[in-house]
Amino acid sequence: MTATAAAPGPAQVEMPKDPSRGRQIIRDILGGSVVISILAVVVGLVVGAILIAVTDPGVQAASGYFFDRPGATFAALGDSVGGAYSSLFQGAIYDFGRPDFLSGIAPLMNTLDLATPLILGGLGLALGFRIGLFNIGGQGQTLVGGAVAGWVAWSFPLPFPWGLILSIVAGIVGGAVAGGVVGLLKARTGASEVIVTIMLNYIVFYFISLLLRTPGALQAAGTINPKSPSPPDSARVPDLFGAQFSVTWMFVIAIAATVFFWWLMSRSSLGFKFRAVGENPAAARTAGIGVDSMYIWGMVLSGALVGLVGVNQVLAFTVGGFGSGFDAGIGFNAITVALLGRSRPLGVFLAGLLFGALNSGGYVMQAANDIPIDIVLVVQSIVVLFIAAPPLVRVLFGLPRPGTAPRRRAKAPKAVEAE
């Protein structure tokens, strides 16, 4: 505990001397307060409401005769925005239109299901961020983890639960190797992990696309479409609360991963070294920490967690076999989740839940109110935009600009508390 509390100490002294401006920006983003995260979400929802109103044909028509009948405009405004956010709620939390409680709560279960990969991916990327590694390779690591898990699942059909356990382990190892390669390149050659991970995304995506249309590789036998065979039922992740809800045991694994992340970063000596390297690699090296091996292990663990996203997509989420797009953009959305959660375990978990809810509600918003799914994406993007610019939120809400000294002092105990 004393070590944890003392950790920011040397960093404060070193910070002004830190030559890397990029590192400073990361630190600013991760160091923002919970209040700013919440306000960013509020601003995102408000801007979303404005966009819904502006793009709604009913509002457009009614505003044409605003002075003749102003009430009509406000009624149309209420209809479009109220209807949209009511659909968002009913699609994400509880649907009042269903006959009983069990079917009414199904949207919440769907939210948990959609949040699962975002939490896992967010934790994986957050781990990298804490070590000062900007891992943008979520897509590639997801694809490797999922493809390996799927391949093991149908190639070694063992009875339940052994087939499943073997496939999950294979997926974790796949993601860990995909991440470890990046760590190795950075540690040994000094290659920028940002560039390497982005490029590996392309390499992996096209390589898996190739395997998916090569008979005998990942392509299902007897088909000409680029799709894999379906993993056997014995290797599928079972539903958590029965077939009527979409949430699976992967959600429990996501909770376990969150606890593991907390333990690793706050209680283990490896986590202490990780954080030391993240705060200041030069100081960490002086203190006798092997920075290079921390980069390698950091990317291995980061890739392993992201590999679980692939496992979730292939063995829990997708019905039947998978195509080359099974990562579904989660590798990138997880960056958002990690940033919104300030790379803290609980923060990432809650951010994952929020984005799961936005996704789940977005489907109903689109189906029931004809609102383009883009609006939901705009809301998410605005949230990130505001989180990346804490001063903007402070100005918007007239929050006091914290002086350097009190902010530092306030930040240190909070970091301990959050962990």
Binding site: D68, I224, T318, A328, Q366, A367
Partner: protein, 363 residues
Amino acid sequence: MRITARRAALPVLAAIASTALLAGCSQAPSTSSTSSATQTTASNFLPCMISDSGGFNDHSFNELGYNGLVQAAKDLGVSQKSAQSKTDADYANNINAMLNQNCNLIITVGFLLADATKAAAQKNPKTDFAIIDDNSIDLPNVRPIVFDTAEAAFLGGYAAASYSKTGVVGTYGGMQIPTVTIYMDGFYDGVQYYNQQKGKNVQVVGWNEKTQKGSFTGGFDNNTAALTTAQGVLNQNVDVVMPVGGPIYQAAASAIKSSGKAVALIGVDADVYYTDSSVQNILLTSVEKGIQQATEAVIKDSAAGKFSKTPYVGTLKNDGVGIAPFHNFAGKVDPNLQSELDTIKAGIIAGSITVATPSAPKS
């Protein structure tokens, strides 16, 4: 700094506000007209549609399917619902959202949605489903809508070979999937048929039917990869090019315009002459796939209670596929070309000319 910025913003804001004021001055519609609008809903039949990740404004098969949905709903006097998918993860969720809207018929666009459609159809036997471009589901409540586009692309290949002066024609695809390569197979066969009939040796670049290998952009986005692929094909002395897959023809159009060469474009899926006026001057013809008509027909069958699981297969015979007019190129092609194409079309329908492709739909 801040003050000057604010001062500068003031007139702009004033201008916006006054425009908004003027815009709000028109007359409100009388209330009687709004009530009559609601009466047009004659039946409770609700057709719904879910796009694949291309979205409904892809100038291609999603858009054609959507047009079919809108037209059928208009003709039947019913409302319709639609949802766009952004990623593969959206398919099952969008179908579920539609099921909760109590849709009677759910049309999914593209083979990517096959697994999600199959799972939903098994769970909801009382809802009708139809899936465009996939023939893998065999369930009593799922109707596949597929097209033998190789037949129409054969005509396109023949026309391209006839028009070409350099003796080289090209094609490239978005992704190497059957619904794309079936066009390229037909195109290739059409060129070979022309060579055989006329004793010429017109080359095809970008696709080889025998090895099933060729040029692909790697996706259905009009991006740099599409432009590079288009330029790669154009650099091989090609003067007719057929890009297959959604909006990637736009990359070919810009590559043609920047090269300054007289290269003609062949559109696919829709008659691109009408869907995109910017390429009218370089468009030789289009290989059409009657997705709109097929969708309309399937919706109307379902509304009339005549839904069946028998696949709808679009062919030259039932006008489910075809070749568009030459429009601006009518004076530039061989005067006998149209009659030759008509003869070939009749030959394909009668079976005297066979268009063999491994990607053909099984009916």
